[in-house]
C-alpha cells in the first residue's frame, strides 16, 4: 500500500518542488504534473548502452528502483509489512540502490560517472552513521524494533526524538541530493554529485532513476514523519508539505556548499545521531 502511494506520489512531489521553486523565483515554470509527462516521455524512448559497459549498467537503474520500492513497502504510512528490525532493512535497501547506481556509473566508463560515484560514496559514508544511530535510538527508546510500533512523542523522549528528527532531515537533504549538499539543477558536470552518475543513462533507464530518487526522498520524509505525534497518514502528508516548502526555500535562497566543506555539515548528522543514542542509553531528559 505505502509503496504504491509513494510511487504514485513521487513524480507529483518532484514536480511540485520544481513548480514551487519556479514560483519563488518569479518564474512561470512548468506545472506540478510535469514529471508524469516527463517519465512517460522517457519511457517511450530507446536507450543507448556504452560499448564498454557490461550488464551492471542495466542492473543499476533497475536495482536502485527496486530497492527504493521495497523499502517503501515497509514504511508504515499505511499498515503493511512490518517486522522486528525493519528500520535497518529500509535504510540498507535504500543504500543498496545507491551502491548499484555507483557501480553502474563506474561501468559506463566515462570520467564523470566515476567522479560522481566517488563523490556520492563519500556523502553516503558521511550520512549513514547518523541516520542509523538516530533511528536505532528512537527504536530503543520506544523499546520496539519495528517502524510501525514506534512510541508516540512524549515528554520522556522529546530530546531523543528532536535529535533524531534533525538527523533524518539532514540525511534527507544529503540522500535526496538536494541543495546544501548537491544542486539538482546544475548543468555543469564538474560540480555534479548525484547527476553525474546518471549522465550516461537515457530513456527508460533514466526514468527508473528519476522515479527511484523521488521515492527515496519521500521515504526519508515518511521516516521523519513517524516521529511526529499524529496519525501516520496525516503526519506523512504534513511532512511532505513541509518538506516541499523547506526544500524550495532552501534551494531558492541558499547556496550549495563546497564539496570539501560537506563533512562540516554532515557531522551535525552524526553528532545528532550519537547524542540521541547517548540520550537513550544514559536516559537524558529535557
Amino acid at each position: 500500500m505505502s509503496a504504491v502511494l509513494l510511487l504514485l506520489l513521487a513524480p507529483l512531489f518532484t514536480g511540485c518542488l520544481k513548480w514551487v521553486k519556479a514560483r519563488l523565483q518569479n518564474r512561470q515554470g512548468p506545472g506540478p504534473l510535469i514529471d508524469y509527462f516527463n517519465l512517460l516521455k522517457l519511457a517511450q524512448k530507446s536507450y543507448i548502452v556504452p560499448e564498454t559497459a557490461s550488464a551492471v549498467f542495466l542492473l543499476g537503474p533497475s536495482l536502485s528502483f527496486l530497492g527504493a520500492v521495497l523499502a517503501a513497502t515497509m514504511l508504515p504510512v499505511f499498515p503493511g509489512l512490518s517486522f522486528t528490525g525493519d528500520f535497518l532493512l529500509v535504510l540498507y535497501l535504500l543504500n543498496l540502490g545507491r551502491f548499484f547506481q555507483a557501480l553502474a556509473a563506474l561501468d559506463s566508463g566515462s570520467a564523470f560517472g566515476g567522479q560522481g560515484s566517488y563523490r556520492e560514496s563519500l556523502v553516503a559514508v558521511l550520512t549513514e552513521p547518523g541516520t542509523i544511530l538516530a533511528l536505532s535510538a528512537v527504536a530503543l527508546s520506544s523499546q520496539e524494533l519495528s517502524l510501525a510500533s514506534l512510541a508516540p512523542l512524549s515528554a520522556q523522549n522529546l530530546l531523543v526524538y528532536a535529535l533524531a528528527l534533525a538527523a533524518l532531515l539532514l540525511s534527507l537533504v544529503a540522500e535526496g541530493a538536494r541543495m546544501p549538499v548537491d544542486d539538482p539543477a546544475t548543468h555543469l558536470e564538474l560540480t555534479m554529485i548525484h547527476e553525474a552518475q546518471l549522465l550516461d543513462h537515457s530513456g527508460p533507464l533514466l526514468a527508473l532513476y528519476e522515479l527511484a530518487s523521488g521515492v527515496k526522498m519521500l521515504s526519508y520524509l515518511a521516516l521523519a514523519s513517524l516521529l511526529l505525534p499524529l496519525s501516520h497518514v496525516l503526519a506523512f502528508l504534513l511532512m511532505v508539505v513541509l518538506g516541499l516548502a523547506g526544500l524550495a526555500i532552501i534551494e531558492t535562497y541558499g547556496v550549495r556548499l563546497r564539496y570539501l566543506r560537506l563533512p562540516d555539515l554532515l557531522t551535525y548528522n552524526t553528532l545528532a545521531g550519537i547524542l540521541a543514542m547517548l540520550g537513550v542509553v544514559l536516559r537524558f531528559r529535557i
Binding site: D264, T267, L278, G279, F284, I286
Partner: protein, 201 residues
C-alpha cells in the same frame, strides 16, 4: 534545547559574523526563558537587562569591532570542524551525565541544569581550540551564558544586584577584550594567538 543548539552552531561555524549572530540569538532565547520563569518582578528586569545588554549591545559592539579590524571569515582552529563538533558532543554527554547530580532540591528548572553545564563546557571548548582572539572572547561569552542559565535554573532568582553585577561584568569584560584585541592587531598585525608564543627580544 534551542539554547543548546545555538551553542553547537557556535562551535560549528567558521564565519565570525555568523558566530556573533548566533550569540545574539542565544541571548534572546535566554531572555525569553527568564521572562517565562518570572513570577516576581525582578526576573523580568534581569531579562530586560539581558536582552538589551547582551542581546543587542554586545553583538553590535562585536560586529563594529570586526568591521573595524576587517576580519570576518575563516576562523582558524586547532581542531577541524567535524572533530570539534564531535568533541562538543562528548562534552555535552559529560555535561548531561554530571548535570543531573548538580540539580538542587529546590531548583526552579532542574531540566535546564545539564544544558547549562554543557553550555559552559562548549564555551570552554571554543575558548581552548580556536586561534583567533575574537572567537576566544565569544567562547568566554558563551561560557558566561551557561553560568547565567545555571543561576536561572538552580535558584528562585538571584538577588537583583548580583544579576546586574554579572551582566555589567560581562559587558566590561567584552569592552576590555575589544580594546585588547585592537591593541594586539595594532602591534602584531594579526589576531592569531597561536603565533604569539615566540618571544620578541
Amino acid at each position: 534545547m534551542a539554547i543548546l543548539a545555538t551553542g553547537f552552531l557556535m562551535v560549528g561555524r567558521r564565519s565570525l559574523t555568523a558566530l556573533v549572530r548566533f550569540y545574539a540569538l542565544q541571548n534572546v532565547l535566554l531572555a525569553g526563558l527568564a521572562f517565562a520563569l518570572s513570577e516576581e518582578g525582578h526576573l523580568v528586569f534581569a531579562g530586560v537587562v539581558l536582552l538589551v545588554l547582551k542581546g543587542v549591545l554586545i553583538p553590535f559592539f562585536l560586529l563594529a569591532l570586526l568591521k573595524r579590524l576587517a576580519v570576518s571569515h575563516e576562523v582558524e582552529s586547532y581542531l577541524s570542524i567535524p572533530l570539534s563538533l564531535l568533541f562538543g558532543g562528548a562534552l555535552v554527554a559529560v555535561g548531561f551525565r554530571a548535570g543531573k547530580a548538580f540539580a538542587l532540591p529546590g531548583a526552579a528548572l532542574p531540566e535546564a541544569v545539564p544544558v547549562a553545564i554543557s553550555l559552559i563546557l562548549l564555551g570552554m571548548l571554543s575558548m581552548a581550540t580556536r586561534k583567533k582572539a575574537v572567537t576566544q572572547v565569544l567562547g568566554f561569552l558563551a561560557l558566561e551564558n551557561g553560568v547565567f542559565l545555571l543561576a536561572l535554573s538552580e535558584t528562585q532568582g538571584l538577588p537583583l544586584f548580583i544579576e546586574i553585577g554579572v551582566a555589567l561584568d560581562a559587558f566590561a569584560a567584552v569592552v576590555l577584550a575589544g580594546i585588547l584585541i585592537r591593541r594586539i592587531k595594532q602591534i602584531f598585525g594579526h589576531l592569531d594567538t597561536a603565533r604569539m608564543q615566540e618571544l620578541k627580544g
